[in-house]
Every structure is written in structure tokens, then in C-alpha cells.
Point group: C2
Chain length 272, copies 2
């Protein structure tokens, strides 16, 4: 008897909305043979303002739905769900390989920092959970972590106020405590924040490296595909299916900007 060496089932990726498409884009480029199902919980976005119990409940519902689509593993591309939902998800579906964005983001930051002083920004729910702080300190107990919740960054990013004086004012005022903490590395702990990268870099100064976890997540998945999940060597053309909980048409128009050359063909609305 030979063990199977290929698994053509898709990889599930989810986020509260469109932000996780940057993670999908990175993974779709890196793994051209893999099929993906992206689930954006666009009716219930944002997760970052909600309570731990609600985020946990939503995470389980989303993962159950992906599993009904026959995924071979799940990537939580949402920082809030990664921080608050994955413990419950692993307990609920112990056989499903699950990967979040927090551990890869922390590893990436630890590779980059010279001084050992790392900053983290995220939604209120992500920062309150302490998930980044705990993970950084587990990986390296000598790291000094400064974290801060940035609740206005998601609406500013979603509404496209990326290059406006008011945005710079809000970013500067929100990040002031980090400026005093003398960090050399800053983790963008929310998939929405990369679109505000320029203004965040301007406020923090050139001496601070910004860490966006999409690439780190791809590295981690590469490891997984040679480890617990089997890659797809079937040779069949890969598919990408998009599922949303709010209107599909609205999602499609925004998603194209995030996806760049990655195709957006099948978008279906589902009710969770």
C-alpha cells in the first residue's frame, strides 16, 4: 500500500471582509497548483469591535461552512479571528489543519528586529486579547512589546481616506505612545492596515520596519504543505471560489482592487 502524495481539495481562507484578499493573493501566487475557497463575512464585518465570545462564534460558523465545502485546511486571514477564535476552532474540529496570521507575523518581526523592541497595532479586540504580546514573549521572552489599538484605521482604510491630512492627524495621535517607546519594528496586526502603510511609515519614521504578515503566512503554509497538509499534484487546473455573506456584486467591485491579477470569477452569497 502506498500513501497518497497529492490532495486536490481546496484550501479555505477567511476574513471578516475584504482585507484577507491580500493574503489570498499572496498564497495564490506562491501556490499556483492549489485551489482556494475564500469566505468574506461581509455582512458581519468588522470583527475587531466585537466581543471575544461573538468572534469565537463567528469563527466556528465560518470554519464549519468551509469544511462543508470540503477544504483540506483553513487559513484565518483575519487577525481578530486568529487572536480570539482559533483555540475554540481547534477544539471543535481537531482534525482540521488551521493556521492563523499571528504566529507567522511574530516570527517575521523577530527576524527583523535589531533592538528587541517590537510594536503591534491592531483592532481593539486583537490588542485586548494580548495574543501578539503572548506569542512574541513565548518565542522570545526578552522581547519588549508595545501595543496599541487603532479602532479608526479600519473605517479610514475602507472609506479610502488613505492620503488625507485628517488621516495623518488621526494616525499620529493614535500612534503617539509608540513613538515614545523606541521600537524598531512594527507589526501591522490587521489585514486592513497595509493600505495605510505610507502614512504609518511617515508617522513612525524610516527607522521603524513595518511587518505585514501576508508573506510570513505563505512561508508557514509552505511548511504545512510539506508537513500536515498534502499539496495538489493532480495537474488539474486550480479553481478559486469566493463566498460572501453580504451582496456579491458589492464585494466583487472592491475585491478586484485587492486581488490584482488573481481572477475573480465565481462569487456566491451564503447565509451563515
Amino acid at each position: 500500500m502506498t500513501l497518497p502524495t497529492s490532495d486536490a481539495r481546496p484550501i479555505g481562507i477567511f476574513d471578516s471582509g475584504v482585507g484577507g484578499l491580500t493574503v489570498l493573493r499572496t498564497l495564490a501566487r506562491r501556490f499556483p497548483q492549489e485551489s482556494f475557497i475564500y469566505l468574506g463575512d461581509t455582512a458581519r464585518v468588522p470583527y475587531g469591535t466585537k466581543s471575544p465570545r461573538t468572534v469565537e462564534r463567528y469563527t466556528l460558523q465560518v470554519a464549519d461552512h468551509l469544511q462543508r465545502h470540503g477544504v483540506k485546511g483553513v487559513v484565518a486571514a483575519c487577525n481578530t479571528a486568529s487572536a480570539l477564535g482559533l483555540g475554540a476552532l481547534r477544539a471543535h474540529q481537531p482534525k482540521l489543519p488551521v493556521q492563523g496570521v499571528i504566529v507567522p507575523g511574530c516570527r517575521s518581526a523577530l527576524n527583523v528586529t535589531q533592538t528587541g523592541r517590537v510594536g503591534v497595532i491592531g483592532t481593539r479586540a486583537t490588542i485586548s486579547s494580548g495574543a501578539y504580546r503572548t506569542t512574541l514573549n513565548l518565542l522570545n521572552p526578552t522581547i519588549e512589546v508595545s501595543d496599541i489599538a487603532c479602532p479608526l484605521f479600519v473605517p479610514l482604510a475602507e472609506e479610502g481616506w488613505t492620503h488625507h491630512a485628517a488621516t495623518e492627524m488621526i494616525v499620529r495621535e493614535t500612534l503617539t505612545p509608540l513613538l515614545d517607546s523606541d521600537i524598531d519594528t512594527l507589526i501591522l496586526g490587521c489585514t486592513h492596515y497595509p493600505v495605510l502603510k505610507e502614512v504609518i511609515q511617515k508617522v513612525m519614521g524610516e527607522g521603524v520596519m513595518l511587518v505585514d504578515s501576508a508573506e510570513a503566512v505563505a512561508d508557514e503554509l509552505e511548511q504545512r504543505l510539506s508537513d500536515t497538509i498534502l499539496p495538489n499534484h493532480s495537474g488539474a487546473e486550480r479553481t478559486i471560489l469566493y463566498l460572501v455573506t453580504d451582496e456579491a456584486a458589492r464585494f466583487a467591485s472592491v475585491a478586484r482592487r485587492f486581488l490584482e491579477e488573481i481572477p475573480l470569477e465565481q462569487v456566491e452569497m451564503v447565509d451563515l
Copy 2:
């Protein structure tokens, strides 16, 4: 046989979050003999960024839940739900007296305007629906309506950036088209906006009257209570029950600020 003249059942009020508490406060003061059930759909807030179909679905779920609690009528204290959900709700539950905030707000504005040029601000969903524009023109076809969506006002209000230079900058830039339209009355078409009243007034100038619909809703309900709904003359002490879809403790801490002297005793979490 004598007809009943009193109905001790509570009146249901709902909003996507805490904003509708300003309506509850006004109604609770004006009708001290009436019991209320407030339902804040705090897990799925905001409604104003969602599609018509999703807002409609949420409105029906919320009203069904209130009806299971035995309400004698429902007030939609959410402008987005009033704009997009009430048609479906009336079709779904034709016997349930239902009142929105849009008609009362429009009546109020028409009483105030001298020039017949009225502005409306609201969420993207409310403005896109055209509900204010249609209602104003039904009530008075000669009225000139200028409306504009203000998607950043809700997060600014929720995060407490009510007196900040960045907020004034965003309010000014968003409202610029209204400044050019020479209105004398502006409807605050979202229950969150009254907390930004000062900066909106500053930007619009003293010549523009701001209309907040909470008082107008109370006038309309007074009419209803002598008309389709029976008032409560039982003499029993009234109760106010609060239902939320996200964490009750978090709601309670914010709600106290909105409710002023109105008591907040029973808060229960429900799953819709």
C-alpha cells in the same frame, strides 16, 4: 361588550447598536406609563454599510424576536432599517404596528424650513435608498433636497472623536457639497449623528437648523397611542428590558451615557 382601553404590553424599539437609545430615552420620558423592550443588534452593527437585502433580513429577524417578547408595536430607531427594512416588515407582519424614524424626521424638517431647501445626511445605505428624498417630496413636491452619505461619522462618533481637529476636517470635507446648496435645514438621518451636532453646526453655520428625529418620533408615537395602539393605563410600574446580540457588559457601559436618568437594569444577550 366594552372594548379594551388599556394594553400593558411593552413597545419594542430597535437599532443596530446603541444610537437608538437616544430615541428610547425620549420615548421613556414622554410616556412614563409605557414599558419598553430595546433590542440593539450590537453583534452586527453597523447596518449602514450593508446591502439592502441584508438590512431587510436583519430587520425581519429583529422584529420577529421582539414579537416573541409580546410587544404591542415596534419602533425602528435605526434610519437604515427604517429606509430599507420596513416595507418588508409590514408585508411580513401586517398586524404589527410599525413606526420608523424617516417620516417623523421629514415632517419635522418641513415644519422648520423657511426656504424649502432641505439637506439630509445619513449612512451610505440610507442615502442610497433615497428614502428621505422620496418622503420629503411626497409630503411637499416643491421641496429641494440635497443629500449626502457620511460613512466616517459613525466610527468617529462611536470612538468618541467628537471634539477633534481631524473630525472637523472630515466633517467639513464631507459636507462641502451641502455648503454650496444653500439649505436652511439639515436632517441628521442617523441616530449616531447627534453626538457630532456641535461640529456639524459649526461647519454648516448658524443659519442652518439641525433636525434630530427623536422628538418627532415621540410626537408620532403619541398619535399612534391614541389611534392604532392602546396606551397602558394598568397602573403597574413600567419595565424596560434591554436585549443585545453582542456582550451585555460592554453594551451596559456605553448605554449609561446615552440613557442619562433612564434606568438600565436588565440587559440580556440574545442570538438572532
